[in-house]
Subunit: 490 residues, 4 copies
Amino acid sequence: MNSENFSISEKIVSPSYIRQGSQARRSHEQLIRLLLEQGKCPEEGWSESTIELFLNELAVMDSNNFLGNCGVGEREGRVASSLVARRHYRLIHGIGRSGDIAAIQPKATGSSLLNKLTNSVVLDILKLSGVVTSCFVVPMATGMSLTLCFLTLRHKRPKGRYIIWPRIDQKSCFKAMITAGFEPVVVENILEGDELRTDMEAVERKVQELGAENILCIHSTTSCFAPRVPDRLEELATMSAKYDIPHVVNNAYGVQSSKCMHLIQQGARVGRIDAFVQSLDKNFMVPVGGAIIAGFNESFIQEISRMYPGRASASPSLDVLITLLTLGASGYRKLLAEQKEMYTYLAQELKRLAAAHGERLLHTPHNPISLAMSLDGLQAQSGKSVTQLGSMLFTRQVSGARVVALGNKQMVSGHMFCGFMSHSEAYPHPYLNAASAVGITRDDVTLCIKRLDKCLKSLRKESSARSGSPIPLTGQEDHAGEYVYKCNKK
Amino acid sequence: MNSENFSISEKIVSPSYIRQGSQARRSHEQLIRLLLEQGKCPEEGWSESTIELFLNELAVMDSNNFLGNCGVGEREGRVASSLVARRHYRLIHGIGRSGDIAAIQPKATGSSLLNKLTNSVVLDILKLSGVVTSCFVVPMATGMSLTLCFLTLRHKRPKGRYIIWPRIDQKSCFKAMITAGFEPVVVENILEGDELRTDMEAVERKVQELGAENILCIHSTTSCFAPRVPDRLEELATMSAKYDIPHVVNNAYGVQSSKCMHLIQQGARVGRIDAFVQSLDKNFMVPVGGAIIAGFNESFIQEISRMYPGRASASPSLDVLITLLTLGASGYRKLLAEQKEMYTYLAQELKRLAAAHGERLLHTPHNPISLAMSLDGLQAQSGKSVTQLGSMLFTRQVSGARVVALGNKQMVSGHMFCGFMSHSEAYPHPYLNAASAVGITRDDVTLCIKRLDKCLKSLRKESSARSGSPIPLTGQEDHAGEYVYKCNKK
Amino acid sequence: MNSENFSISEKIVSPSYIRQGSQARRSHEQLIRLLLEQGKCPEEGWSESTIELFLNELAVMDSNNFLGNCGVGEREGRVASSLVARRHYRLIHGIGRSGDIAAIQPKATGSSLLNKLTNSVVLDILKLSGVVTSCFVVPMATGMSLTLCFLTLRHKRPKGRYIIWPRIDQKSCFKAMITAGFEPVVVENILEGDELRTDMEAVERKVQELGAENILCIHSTTSCFAPRVPDRLEELATMSAKYDIPHVVNNAYGVQSSKCMHLIQQGARVGRIDAFVQSLDKNFMVPVGGAIIAGFNESFIQEISRMYPGRASASPSLDVLITLLTLGASGYRKLLAEQKEMYTYLAQELKRLAAAHGERLLHTPHNPISLAMSLDGLQAQSGKSVTQLGSMLFTRQVSGARVVALGNKQMVSGHMFCGFMSHSEAYPHPYLNAASAVGITRDDVTLCIKRLDKCLKSLRKESSARSGSPIPLTGQEDHAGEYVYKCNKK
Amino acid sequence: MNSENFSISEKIVSPSYIRQGSQARRSHEQLIRLLLEQGKCPEEGWSESTIELFLNELAVMDSNNFLGNCGVGEREGRVASSLVARRHYRLIHGIGRSGDIAAIQPKATGSSLLNKLTNSVVLDILKLSGVVTSCFVVPMATGMSLTLCFLTLRHKRPKGRYIIWPRIDQKSCFKAMITAGFEPVVVENILEGDELRTDMEAVERKVQELGAENILCIHSTTSCFAPRVPDRLEELATMSAKYDIPHVVNNAYGVQSSKCMHLIQQGARVGRIDAFVQSLDKNFMVPVGGAIIAGFNESFIQEISRMYPGRASASPSLDVLITLLTLGASGYRKLLAEQKEMYTYLAQELKRLAAAHGERLLHTPHNPISLAMSLDGLQAQSGKSVTQLGSMLFTRQVSGARVVALGNKQMVSGHMFCGFMSHSEAYPHPYLNAASAVGITRDDVTLCIKRLDKCLKSLRKESSARSGSPIPLTGQEDHAGEYVYKCNKK
């Protein structure tokens, strides 16, 4: 209520109470003022009541909520279902304009503010880990966002045909290059101890072989499943600078890890990183569907933002803004600290379990999120036990535990990946992955270890009962969905 | 509740009442059954209570809502803010998988069902107007969806460099081609009476000039601002077939018009249409951010869907599903009937108003949504009156009324458009646009006419008072935002 | 947002857009201002967005939502469940104080405003039909609210033991007297044509017989089931005045009827009405649980309000305020007009149906809401057919159609009612009631008539098939719940 | 979804995923089954998703949500505002029937289940602390609920005129007796150390003086502000039994304290307790407006429930059910443990603060919730300082800290209370109350102590600056609202 309405209210309820109410309102306004002024994530999270007050305030500034508006355009923010209107807090116009996804909409002042503030608050969070200059939220997941980066680079490097890509076995980042119309040049990783790491020499060989001007960019990766570890970003960035090749980093779930963010910082400091892309859902615990495109050169990031043709959904921006206002910077830091703590706990528990079953925790100290436990013994029992473990975990509601058998082959968009899922043509062990990602709880770890233990025991029993006969697996592969692929010896 | 729980309830509340309650539940289940079985938009809209029951049922099938789930993956559908969880009905996993935006997610059975059903229900609605074979909802607005279509075509036509495009002055469809990395070949429209129509001869000339194999596709448009009218789709489709060139139609807000849909039908019948793209928000009264990519060849539509790299937001799918279940097919048909009725009403009122002010309603019978009223008299008064009218309407909360002055020039992604906004290098009249789009009400029309009348009167008075002196417009251009551009004579 | 925050926003989004947004906000504030200033139901309903903005504003003024509050009392408005907090818009403190249910709470300025405004808006609606001086909403249904009135009167009339009550067969108003500790003196109605009307002579006889000073009050009724009609309020009010006996009117669902309201007006004008009580749910389409206690003497109404010991739920007040703001006075008048229209339609359809089945619509022109159709033919068929009809309608989801057999006897709180449910010891016809109450739709009437027709036909068929043998009714009585009682001849 | 719909879904999404989804659903159903079967508060709290699923299930069983219902009654559960419908989860029919607030409604099976389950779950929680036989939730706050108990007793003791009431200075329990029409007989407390305790001899004297048969009941109190402590329930209950006088206990916020509950247990074991009444909001952290009436004799509790005339709001029942399902029994026990812990912390901090300011924490070990700190020094400074402290705390957002000056006199419903607010005609110290009530946090205590410290320091400074001159208090009394009353020497 404005001051006039507070005055009138003093005639209905005692003035001193109204004054206190008005003062209470001011403390919400004060929080909003700080946000508007500084564009930063508040240190302490806001209450739901402040957040909803703020979103309502934004909504009344959009023309579809004007009380006296009449609309005769082709796009007026009309909503047929009140369920839909409510779930979007009546912010209907999306973000951006035909010219630029970061542009202001005359019809939607509130949505425009939302968009600007979200980008600003997200930038503030990225800055927790170092110098970033510019970023924006885009309502597409990581893969499509990488595509947009590549499409933008095409206009700067019309001769670029190839993208140098240290292998990581995850389909969408591979397809991002295909979709953009480029030819991925897969550089196999090298084995160092248990870890799979970037083969810098092979990268340089490829650059020289293809000719720097024909290469659109280097496309590297931070966050990934163990035993692969983040790429050697410093060396790759240095090489990018040396050969004047753009460098785009897939930092999918790396915001949650200070190690990944540090790698990007260092890369940008010593060499060249043009843009790095991260998932909203994997780093900020929001629904799937958004990403952040960030970089150190504001004008290049703006070029990407202007490359997006037309308006876009405000839904991912709204989700991440609500989430960061709820958590506050302190709440987000707390989540990151818990991620680290749970990583240590998970590692220790997996180690213990592995020992008990004659397996071992692979030694992958460069990977700050994902862990892998060998399944050599299980594999020795029977070829099918490994895939069966995947099915068993799935039906026991252990989600995200990924079983990797040896020797899978998979054709993805015309490229044959040998040893698919293991990031390597010939990784020496079958294994199981488990990750400590942001938001994981102690219960998740404890339950997972318990169920995994049971599954391993039951598989051993079965195996000894059968004394070597093949495990009947009729119709079970499909349980495992994305986790298990058929194994064909090369 | 399941039958067991109903039985137990009979011990608490009289069995006959419980039986009636259980029967009442069955009538909701029956509606859900029909939807699952037929995959069609229900004829009559559902109550909010059925819709929410259904969405809750979907949500409990996603692993993030399993009561006993433990997650050790990098993406577990965790949500930090309960406000965010609630507004998505706890459907967090988005849609699609790395392989395909239409694919099923093992971790998210409910979201997968949602995705399949949405595509199926939307297809049913498209079929209201003829034979469509396949479609899917994509959480990107029309422009980016067109980009995706072009990127898919690239893989089929590696030599394709050009896109033939009958001019329409709207930035995002133009940028869609640029972003995809192609060169738009702008074909100017020809004037027939007041209408701007496709110049078929010019199109064919361009095809022959550039060589069919170098042309990625023809990119035509249905819905547009008068006095431009929908492209001659039959002829374009016939030409596409003749020269074996793909044909993509920008049907942005054409679903709401039986005329536009009929054009597409006819085009596909007599010639070739590979895909047509339409906005969710403009046709279905949902928030900005989604589109439907549809076509007559299922396998090509699937190719596009598989081209999308990675998962995507379920939010636009959720919105359109809720909306169509709320409206029912009959409700949607009713909206379309009202759109038609309001078009007639708007035309009649604009005609009356134009006459009163010495202007006229341009004769554009081929455009079923947008209308244009000449502003020749206003222009004669003073060059600035026309742009001033735009500002005045904006501040009077008439949204969507677009004022088009003569002689604007605009550079868009490196291409200079003369007479920008008028779809023509030299349209003979300045004019004002108003549209009857789905969801418009009688009040919208009445208020708009009333305010427009006032503005025109006030401009005339001002003008006669000044007896020809220039209108001072300090700082007013920016009010008008996207509607008014500076006029520079060529 | 306050003006300071709007100013800051101008640095983020173009000032002219922010100004328009701020102006749009002002139009919501303007509506709120009018409400605060005039305390009247707005003529036009508010949008949901204005209502929620307003409720959020109220909530921030309550101490439980103060951002810096620390609470060390025994009642601090803490809420354990966020589902609960949200559904009450975080208004937790209820209404009133130990001294008075209408009093202001220092800890809850927002809730206090809510309470004052609700009473004021409700008063405005009551005034639509004439001069009322004072009223308040109480979170108890009609029965308990009547009890509170009687308890208040006790303090003014310590010798009062009896309450004179023209018979109406509805339990809660009878129990209201018993609960308050008084002895109801039941005055039987007289038959005029088909109508049951107040027997004024019998009332006066009772007054004289018992002695005015021993009578706490006369307790009359307006809205009731046909063929009973509203009491002769003018005559009763005149008699109250003559003998100086208080007069309390049970106006349960009479606000929706101009006839009932007019009777009260007239009664107060020519005689004495101390208070009249009406249900919130039955008149305002809100959930069960609230009532309005109103009267023409402000100080007596305040006495009742001060008689309520302690705080009370704000939930019914919140519901009725939201509802009236949503409808606006014009929306409420429209509902009343529809009620009237549907009454006529229902009467006509029942008449037609009755004729077709050899029955007749009872002639009860004084009852503006409820109608009754004779069931003499059905009764003639078999004694059980009448009760069976009740069961059949219940299982066919015709709710509220009440079948009244002859000769029921029922003991209620120690008083034996002969001919229970028919308001008379010996009404000449069994009958079926149907009512046109506020919110009824044409579909309700049409469906009811259709199903009733089917039931009557099927009963006739059954009967002729059995050629007179008794209808087996095992276990069906309990379906009918409150509608059907066993019939014992006196 | 029922099993049929799951089967159909298997044609849309892989059967193994659907089976997992259906199994996930079953785990929610399982929780619901346990609740229905046992009627107990679940040990572990439910997720919001289970709760909302359950409430939706209840709602579809109510006739207002039947898809094919047609209503021709006067009360059909129609709702005009969708905001209102949603906030009540579409449960509109309230609870109870005209005969009994605990009765089942034929039209509202879901609401009836809700009502039964709520009473059952609440009973389970009361049983945590001993043997209770019966209870029900009533949508009236404590005061009105006590009134209902007294009104019920009237029918059993027609000669009862007096209620024996050991003094406690809280208006609503006093008014509860007045409203019910009885004469409260105030028995002053006696001072034992710092504590004010029941004067058993005076009680017995009064009983003998008035004659047991003329006494409606003894009305005792457990939870209260220090330095008053809970009544000697064992002795009072014994005396009730001895003289055959009913005994009603005001246990307002005593459920949260094992001490208060134990007193009631013991009272019932050794003597007579007919009913005890507790607030929902003060014990269960829900909005104001409900109470629980409980007792050890099921038939008497039923009598009270049958005394409530008519239907009633389901809102308080819904709130407490949601809350207890959210918390689970373990969550509620945790809250109680925290209350105890915070009591100790508050006591220790107040003690420390008191010492620093030359005051002392009054020794009131029998009061498990409320504490009092003397203000003798402040009083010595100036008569006004004590009341000023109240104002200062109020404006500094310390809510619930109650300052009690000496010598207040207050007339309540015709009875003059000397030393009002201190439960005694001549308590030797002015003091300040603070309470550790359920839901209090460590922050509440810490902030309160800090602000209190500041206030006391500032008052001392002011006082020494003025060297004894009176503190100007213009317009400040009203800040303090309910806390401070004018002091008139007797």
